[in-house]
Structure formats: C-alpha cells, structure tokens
C-alpha cells in the first residue's frame, strides 16, 4: 500500500488573510521575529498499489483535476509505503 502526503499551498503572489491574522496573533504572544505565516492544506490519500511511478502519475492528475486550483495554488507531494 502507498500513501500520498499532499501539500496544497497558496502561490506566493496570493495574499493569505488567515496567515496574516496568525502572524498578528503570534506577535501579540511575543514572537516578534515571526515575519510571515502561510496556511496550507495537507491531504493524505492511501492507494491499493505498490507501483510508485504509476501512483505518482495518478496523484498528479488528482491534484490537477480537483485538489488544487491552478489559479491560486501550487502543490507538492511525497509517496511512501505504508
């Protein structure tokens, strides 16, 4: 069995109001060296397969067609045996 660990992130050019709010809160907590916070999505998908090459192709298709919005987001992933 394989597990895909997928991160979907806002592109650097897209403002992240949630990240900005978290930065402000961290400053209020005294973490004054925090410069920027970006919030991402983390998604796990398990596959009934041990073929890493084929599964990686599928994960890319899954990300391109549903998990990430190419207008505003990028993604990367790791495939591990589990």
């Amino acid at each position: 069995m394989l597990i895909a660990k997928i991160f979907v992130q806002l592109k650097p050019s897209v403002l992240d109001p949630q990240g900005k709010a978290v930065t402000n809160s961290l400053h209020n907590l005294g973490f004054n060296q925090v410069h920027e916070t970006r919030i991402s999505k983390y998604i796990e998908i398990r596959f009934d397969s041990n073929d890493k090459t084929e599964t990686a192709k599928q994960v890319e298709k899954i990300c391109d067609s549903l998990l990430a919005n190419p207008n505003t987001e990028t993604y990367h992933f790791e495939l591990q045996e589990c």
């Binding site: 050019s13 897209v14 403002l15 109001p17 949630q18 709010a21 549903l66 998990l67 919005n69 207008n71 505003t72």
Partner: protein, 229 residues
C-alpha cells in the same frame, strides 16, 4: 423565458431565485444536480448557498455534479448562465469564468446591503441599464474576494468583462467589502453569455424587502429576450 435553477446539496438560494422568476411570469423549474437534463432552458441559474458544504474549496465539488456537464455544454453553445454567489464560485471552478473567489480580506462572513455599479450595458444581463447606474443589492459570503493574476485582470478590463464593481452610495470605488481585486463584484465571459456575481439580485426583487434594485437585472434579461424573440 424558460429558466432552470439548479439545486445542489447545500444550495439555499435556489427557491428565492425560482420564486422571483415565477413572480415575473416566467416558466421556472428547479433541477436536481444529479439530473442529466436541463429541460431546454433559455437561462440557467446556479444559485447561492454552500454546495457540498464548501468542502475542499467553494464550488470545487459541485463542479463534478452530473448536471454541470450539461451546463458546460449549454454555455458552450451560447446559452445564458447566471451564477450568483456560490454559483459564481462554481463557474470559476468549471473554468467558464476566469479567476477565483478567495476568503474575504477580513476573514469574516459579510451579510449586508452593498452598493454596486453597473459598468457596461453590453451584455444580456445589463442590456438597457445605463453604465454608472448604482444598485443596492445584498451580499452574503465569506469567500467573495475576487482574485485574478495581472494579465487576467488586464484581459477582463480590455474586453469590457467587468459587469459590476463594489462602490459607495455616490458610485465611487471607496467601499470594497471583501478585498476583491479592482473592486470586482461580477464578471462575464468573453462570449458575454455567462455571468458570475457575488451580490444577490434575487434577494432584492420583491416588494417585501427593502431594495428592489435586483429587478433591474431581471428586467435587462427580459429586454434581451423580448428583442431576440
């Protein structure tokens, strides 16, 4: 006019839209998202709400409802499609409209009356409305912050695709409720048959509410159909 209003799981403005068209003597129908037949409409409405609970991204899962393939084919044949609020989010996810609706800049769900300015009369949805006309139309969303990259924005501006911009009571671009780029509240596609807008004209079209400015948009559609038929 034959109007098909699509109901997704989580739609909550479908009946409002349906009732407005019924009250204006149009042949309105509610179509379930699992259906495969739009029933030969002149106009398709993708209503407001929270389709699929806004899971993953607003509109992302609705894009894969069976009826949406029919909506895509209808729009690509030149059929009129109007997406309101969540409907606008679905239209950007399908690719029928460019850009994305991001979270409001202040992270809050905003529900209030908002002035918007009609920017062009060159569309079936604004036919006969003088550009610069100010409408009082309610907004109710958390993800209404329209975003598009610079070249996309230039293209929208160059092709006269911005139909509505948020404004103040004088029509100045001083009131932007959600951080939308260029104050954009509604856009059309290049073929000018698909509209997406965050404000809710169907909530400002009956005598029982405080603004009736939404009627101007429905009247524009009626003018377009009267001229065509």
């Amino acid at each position: 006019m034959r109007v098909s209003v699509i109901t997704f799981p989580g739609s909550n403005c479908d009946h409002d839209a349906y009732e407005v068209f019924k009250s204006r003597a149009h042949d309105a129908k509610l179509i379930w998202h699992k259906d495969h037949d739009l029933e030969d409409p002149d106009l398709v409405i993708l209503p407001g709400g929270f389709s699929y609970g806004d899971y993953l991204r607003c509109g992302a899962l609705a894009r894969f409802s069976p009826i949406v393939n029919e909506v895509l084919a209808f729009a690509n044949r030149g059929g009129l499609v109007m997406g309101i609020c969540n409907g606008f989010q679905i239209l950007t996810e399908t690719g029928l409209l460019p850009g994305t609706l991001l979270m409001n800049s202040d992270l809050k769900f905003i529900c209030k009356h908002q002035f918007i300015r009609v920017e062009t009369s060159n569309s079936p949805f604004s036919k006969g409305i003088e550009p610069g006309t100010i409408l009082d139309i309610p907004i109710a969303h958390k993800e209404g912050n329209y975003f598009i990259d610079e070249s996309g924005l230039n293209s929208l501006q160059d092709n006269d695709q911005v139909l509505f911009r948020y404004c103040d009571v004088q029509g100045e671009y001083q009131d932007n409720p959600n951080g939308a780029i260029d104050n954009i509240a509604g856009i059309i596609n290049t073929k000018r048959n698909v509209l997406g807008m965050m404000p809710h004209p169907e909530r400002a079209a009956t005598d029982s509410v405080s603004s009736q400015d939404g009627r101007k948009i429905f009247q524009a559609l009626e003018r377009y159909f009267d001229g065509r038929n």
